[in-house]
Amino acid sequence: MSNGKKFVMVIDQERCFGCEACSIACKIENNTSDYGIKVETQGGAVKDTPRGNFPNLTMDFLPKLCNHCENPPCVDSCPEDALQKRDDGIVVLDRELCTGCQSCLTACPYNIIVFDDSNNLAEKCNFCVHRVDQGLEPFCVICCEGQAIHFGDLNDSDSVVSQLISEKNTFQLKTEEGTNPNVYYSPPRLKRRL
């Protein structure tokens, strides 16, 4: 299933305007109990509010989803082999094999795996493998209003994701965990004040 590909996602915080279309798109496409991608406001105490003092304020958005880590602790933690790291880098949760033991929820340093109470199963973003395997992009990518979410093959140096990672000052979350995420973020640009 790899064809020598390594799928990664790059989210451009500069272009994300926090609309949450990705969250809704994800839930509809995957028919899940919760959003596989959630938008965090980097701002005030409450969602969608800024930090600072009026009018010197900042507010940015950080969409968070499964990082499809290179070294995924969730895969190691799963006693049923329901979590698998594919050769193309995608970490897939097979709900047929999941027994709902929740060890993956504890193992994930990003707290991004959720528990679907109604089915007693774990739930997370699978990078829309059902689409990717047909050559399509994850649904959140085509529904992103800001065109901020990029998906592609890091082994292809011409891909948009490769270029973004080499040109922009991208970062990953919680690198200290040693998980080496495959979701990268490009930070907002510095303001050019008057």
């Binding site: 609309c19 949450e20 304020l57 507010m59």
Partner: protein, 754 residues
């Protein structure tokens, strides 16, 4: 890969006031739409869907949809209705219309058509029937949108102060050096495509400034945010002009060629001097002061470039000054200090901003309707356009690179060319027409795609004085909205997936909103309803072919040559590009055919220049006040006006109405985030949760519009707003509702009802 059981249909989501819409690819299985996704476009930047579009199946398949025609059996507002057949519904309407028209004339029957979800023929069908019956078309511009055209008509002689819709600003043209986003929040509100273009521009190096009393999501993307007091935009514009004039940074060449700045104005009458005032041959010609000859001359194409823009002159005993000098005199009062005091913007920032605008090579002013929803919002728009004009940036702001698509509106505006058409009435004028019979009585109203009670100003007045004066109310609706409860007859309409319409957006594309599935339940499209009613009124032949017939009619325009309804079934089509390097010549529909920095027709009203006049209610000047906070209403990404307020998928993310207030104001009132508070003034009390945030200016309270009345614990947003008519707007175009010019106080609520 392609599932043979699934049929794909290209359509378009019209849920945005008809000025922009996304292309949608619907997946249909066994007659049911199972999925929506953004459809392809010739330019992939146009391929888009928003969070509302994504959940629109929840509208189509909502359990609460109105499923069949109903007539009222309880009191108005009680919500008691009884199922009837379509035949019975039409019989009631025909009988009532006959009674009322015989008693008061057809004029007394009005069609109030809204914005959200409005298409083209859907709207046109009502106009055509109104035209045939010579009844009254109630214009919805005044329900928030009339202030912008009021100002734009005065200064530019155009309905809008930008190119063919906003996005045109960015199409096929070099990005500007500076983008002034003033009073609009495209990241969360219409027009849909603008935010992407704005971000594209920023990525290519454009500096972005946002002017707004709220720190919006768009503001969060700006290089500089200018947070000003609501309703003080014209003061800021004058302050900017002051700095530009003081530093001699204005673009004199542009002003001479494109504005009425050089025309001499009489000090005694405030009118432009004309040839006849000085016994010149050309009686109506404007007069200028000719610099080379140091004498006055009647205006000609050749001498205008040699006109004086400044000074004071006496001609034949008449004291006069160039219009620009009058603008300079006015702006000289708005020193950075005084402007800072009025607007709440730092003095240094005003100076830097003014110099940046004047020195940037190309500036685009992206404005919309935030500030025009204040009592003098039309003048604010004129102030901003004046800044664009004196810096030579009007061309950058209003031109575009594609041929705009003109719709064939004639058969709708005037169904029979040699007969009179409908009467036109602004929606704010409608209050008086219904309540007092001025200028003539309206006795029956048909509301279509409008949630009148919820979205129009002064709810208590509507409930207590407006509705009781109507003999007959019809509403076409999908849901039992607060307004539908007051109807005598409710007719079930289709969601956008159940009927066809034509869309001339997103610019520069045109699209077909193609019927994907048959109408659900007993619902019909507005066009079908109008056609069937028209048939019973003897006008059936004007609606032959139904939805498709009307689409062909509205597409019968030079703009769409060679493009048919068939073509649009599978793709969106881009309109022709202008030749390389071409742009629209600057033309203005003002009396002088120039940008009117000075509007002589408004001299008696004290508004010949873009003056700063204090707001009607907004308590922006410091001091003791009964109602010390300015209430404004932002637009939320979770709704299009009041559409989508009943969709659970969106309520999951944004469950209830909130009032945003600044920590300083909250502390004074001992209010914390999550507290239940009452917002009140003399008109009403509205109870809801508070959110304490730095995102609004101190002194400002913000409740996003569109929540339904029953979603508040008490009152609602529009219970607090007022329906005051600005007579100048009434004269110029149509009076606007001033939802962002409202005074309130807020108090922690004790024992508010749940």
């Amino acid at each position: 890969m392609v599932n043979p059981e699934i049929r794909l249909v290209r359509t378009a989501c019209p849920a945005h006031c008809g000025i922009d819409c996304c292309g949608i690819l619907a997946h249909v299985k066994d007659g049911k739409v199972i999925k929506l996704e953004p459809a392809e476009f010739p330019d992939e930047r146009d391929r888009r869907i928003c969070l509302r579009g994504l959940v629109s199946l929840d509208i189509t398949y909502h359990p609460d949809r109105i499923k069949y025609p109903m007539k009222r059996v309880g009191e108005r507002g009680e919500g008691k209705f009884e199922r009837i057949s379509w035949d019975e519904a039409y019989e009631i309407i025909v009988k009532k219309f006959k009674e009322i028209s015989e008693k008061y004339g057809w004029k007394s029957i009005g069609w109030a058509l809204g914005g959200p979800g409005a298409g083209t023929t859907k709207f046109g069908a009502y106009l055509r029937l109104a035209s045939l019956t010579q009844s009254t078309r109630v214009s919805a511009w005044g329900y928030g949108d009339a202030g912008l055209p009021c100002g734009s008509r005065v200064i530019l002689g155009r309905q809008f102060p930008y190119g063919h819709l906003h996005v045109a600003t960015f199409w096929q043209r070099k990005y500007p050096e500076l983008l002034m986003v003033w009073a609009t929040n495209p990241a969360e509100s219409m027009p849909l495509q603008n935010m992407r273009r704005l971000m594209d521009a920023k990525e290519s190096g454009t500096q972005v400034i946002v002017v707004d009393p709220r720190f919006t999501v768009t503001a969060s993307k700006a290089d500089e945010y200018i947070g000003l007091n609501p309703a003080t935009d014209s003061a800021l514009a004058l302050g900017i002009m002051n700095v530009i004039f003081q530093n001699d940074l204005h673009d004199k060449e542009f002003i001479l060629e494109y504005t009425n700045g050089p025309y001499l104005v009489r000090i005694d009458t405030g009118k432009m001097i004309r040839g006849k005032d000085i016994n010149a041959n050309k009686e109506d010609a404007y007069v200028i002061w000719h610099r080379p000859s140091d004498s006055h001359k009647t205006l000609s194409r050749s001498n205008v470039k040699e006109a004086s823009l400044t000074g004071s002159y006496t001609i034949e005993g008449i004291e006069c000054k160039p219009a620009l000098q009058l603008l300079m005199d006015l702006s000289s009062e708005y020193t950075p200090e005084k402007t800072a005091e009025i607007t709440g913007v730092e003095k240094e920032l005003i100076i830097k901003l003014a110099k940046r605008i004047a020195n940037a090579k190309k500036v685009v002013f992206l404005t919309h309707m935030g500030f025009t929803r204040t009592y003098h919002g039309d003048i604010s728009l004129r102030g901003v356009i004046s800044v664009a004009a004196i810096t030579g940036n009007v061309n950058a702001t209003v031109s575009s690179g594609y041929v705009p698509g003109g719709l064939n509106w004639n058969p709708f505006l005037k169904a029979i060319p040699d007969k009179p058409s409908f009467h036109r009435m602004g929606i704010l004028n409608l209050y008086d027409a219904v309540i007092s019979g001025n200028p003539y009585p309206i006795k029956a109203l048909w509301f279509a795609f409008i949630n009148f009670l919820n979205q129009c100003a002064n709810s208590n007045k509507i409930i207590e004085q407006f509705y009781p004066n109507l003999e007959f109310i019809v509403q076409t609706e999908l849901f039992m909205t607060p307004s539908a409860r007051y109807a005598d007859l409710i007719l079930p309409v289709c969601s956008f997936l159940e009927f066809s319409d034509f869309m001339n957006s997103p610019y520069p594309n045109i699209q077909l909103q193609q019927k994907v599935i048959e109408p659900l339940f007993e619902s019909k499209s507005d066009v079908t309803i109008v056609a069937e009613l028209a048939d019973r009124l003897g006008y059936g032949k004007y609606f032959e072919g139904g939805e498709e017939g009307l689409i062909d009619l509205i597409m019968d325009s030079g703009s769409f040559k060679g493009i048919t309804r068939e073509t649009l079934k599978t793709k969106a089509v881009q309109l022709p590009k202008l030749p390389e390097g071409a742009s629209f010549p600057l033309s203005f529909g003002t009396p002088s055919r120039k940008i009117e920095l000075y509007a002589e027709q408004l001299y008696e009203d004290g508004e010949a220049l873009p003056v700063y006049l204090p707001p009607f209610e907004a308590p922006v000047t410091p001091g003791e006040k009964k109602y010390p906070l300015t209430l404004i209403n932002g637009h939320s990404r979770f709704r299009t006006h009041s559409m989508f307020a009943n969709i659970q998928a969106l309520l999951d993310l944004n469950p209830e109405p909130l009032v945003d207030i600044h920590p300083i104001d909250a502390e004074k009132r001992d209010i914390r985030t999550g507290d239940i508070v009452t917002v009140y003034n003399d008109r009403a009390r509205t109870t809801l949760k508070a959110r304490v945030t730095e995102g609004v200016k101190p002194g400002v309270a913000d409740i996003t519009e569109g929540w339904w009345i029953e979603q508040f614990r008490e009152g609602s947003l529009n219970h607090l707003t007022h329906d005051t008519i600005n007579p100048v707007q009434d004269k110029v175009y149509e009076p606007n509702m001033h939802m962002n010019d409202v005074a309130v106080e807020i108090t922690k609520s004790e024992g508010a009802k749940k």
